[in-house]
Symmetry: C2
Subunit: 392 residues, 2 copies
Amino acid sequence: MDYIFSNKISSLKPSAIREILKVTSDPSFIPFAAGNPAPEAFPTEDIRAMTDKILRENPVNALQYGVTEGYPPLREAVREFIKDKYSLGNENDSLIITSGAQQVMDLATKALCNEGDTVICESPSFIGSLNCFRSYSARLAGVRVENDGMDFEMLEQTLKTAENARFIYTIPNFQNPSGVTMSLEKRKKVYELALKYGVLIVEDNPYGDLRVSGVDIPSIKSFDTENIVIYAGSFSKILSPGLRVGFALAPSEIIAKMVVCKQTSDVHTPLLNQMLVYEWLKNYAIEKHLDYLRGIYKRKLDLMCEGLDSSLSGFLDYQKPEGGLFIWCSLPENAGVMDYCKKAAERKVAMVPGSAFLTDANEADNHIRLNFSTPTDENIVKGINILKDLKL
Amino acid sequence: MDYIFSNKISSLKPSAIREILKVTSDPSFIPFAAGNPAPEAFPTEDIRAMTDKILRENPVNALQYGVTEGYPPLREAVREFIKDKYSLGNENDSLIITSGAQQVMDLATKALCNEGDTVICESPSFIGSLNCFRSYSARLAGVRVENDGMDFEMLEQTLKTAENARFIYTIPNFQNPSGVTMSLEKRKKVYELALKYGVLIVEDNPYGDLRVSGVDIPSIKSFDTENIVIYAGSFSKILSPGLRVGFALAPSEIIAKMVVCKQTSDVHTPLLNQMLVYEWLKNYAIEKHLDYLRGIYKRKLDLMCEGLDSSLSGFLDYQKPEGGLFIWCSLPENAGVMDYCKKAAERKVAMVPGSAFLTDANEADNHIRLNFSTPTDENIVKGINILKDLKL
């Protein structure tokens, strides 16, 4: 039989990153392509102890069906955590536990977008989110990212002309892949513009706790008095991505629709995983753990930047990010990014060409994204030396 | 702001079952409405030991990102398991690990259906699947369920007239909610018809291992020489639903599209959960556990049927199922099913009215679905006595 696939999916390619991840599960590759936490970042002993406690004290609850909204004590603990720490959430908001923050994009897009509606995105942006929007046949309208966030004039122009714009998707902290952090001034302007044009904002903040220099900037959601922001949070980068636990905080009416979508998608996020995150939030010295993570990532970021500066300056150019997991490097216009990535792969260094992150994948681009969280210190040095060899 | 929701979702109501589940998380309710495994069905001590082993021996793997297709050793173990036990899978098939079998419906529908395409379903059928199809704006074409499965003539008529029929959705073993098992003859006929009309089959088999009488009947997938069957399997009813681990076995070309959909949905099913199922498949006396489960469910089924026979015969009518979790009871035409369910709820007995399971929810129906796996033996007796009081 010749299979007939849906229009929305037949044009969609497998994520370049995930395909590369598959190749680079070969441990002989130097993993500058992935976005994995450092292996030493996982509190493995504590997770084992907490899991053991849950399965001793409350096994049936951990193994039985649960409600779609999420494990009620976890929902409450997350609300408290983000209220205390980031002033997020008001009485009009609800919170749903999701299977990673990726599912926030899936549920929000399904609930909000008809085919052909527009999602306004930073360009470049996270390929997993872009592909999610594409998978519902949303049109992507890309807005250039400047050193302090979205190009404000281009955003307004896009809002004026886009057909049925449903939301603005932004990663304001240490954006993936650009590493850019949006200034407070721009956050406020983006919020005002969204309000002016009657468009929602999806604020994706997986890296916010991984700041290694500079000072924290309030989330857009923290000044959401008009209830237009869907905030996506994640435990992937601060606890474990393999557990697949994230959440959305958003106006209750929107969360209610996302719950309906989740019922038909995976029913609920696994209970054991939710209870584990709950234990961690309630009984664990989280700030100490975050300090530990920031220590690891500051060291790795500094190490990679030193290598880039000493071995590749004049060839690669970059703005050092204040946190997150990625360095976004520009190559000379004539350098041939795809060839450079291919040659690197032949020498067993994996990295992602910038065009993968553009809203229009056919646009020319002269960037590569380097991840510094996954490789060992030794491999950071080794990988940069290989890139140095290849630059000519 | 007045929120605008997508057309596909704005008409969709929250699942009646999941809403009822929320009410009945109140432990004072007698839970005839849910579809939960019996609490004593979970091998809690073994799960704790296996989890401990995984988190001692391989913690980083369990906590790190994984590939979308699933944990490779689990994929292989599941393929072996279903090949050995049910003769499922040929060289044209691939297997994807999903976040419960519900996600198989989500991914298959997204990959295969444009808005307005038709999904042919048994009517009544599992509400979670029906709502999933609806959530992609698929049209549902219901085919009546007879005592030995789908009404064959109505199926052929539907195949002849349906616009862009994409697949036939069936639960051949102990169907939810009707309890009906499709005969081998009908399975073969359904397969032939699907082939004749160029339509795929989605075969959902969550209850197949829970047969308590009669003999096993081969799955439709087991005679799928023409590669038209997507088989959905689950560990929810035989190990734990809270872990959210299921799988699809289907032609590789279809699985490849489902993988793309899953990348943008939840990236991958949690690794710890997948590794746990792997340990269970490889190192556990599964047949002994299944015998134990069948013992529990046979006892509960018999107990509920005895109660129905002695207290409600002449009022409620039913065909005793050979397995699964549900008894489908018809009431006298003039009994007023919704009122009966409401009165039962006032007396703290939760059950689901049959109309919830119809492809056309406005159709008249005189059934209730009773679940016998969740309540204790004591509550089965108590609940039936309450239903007896209410029958007049």
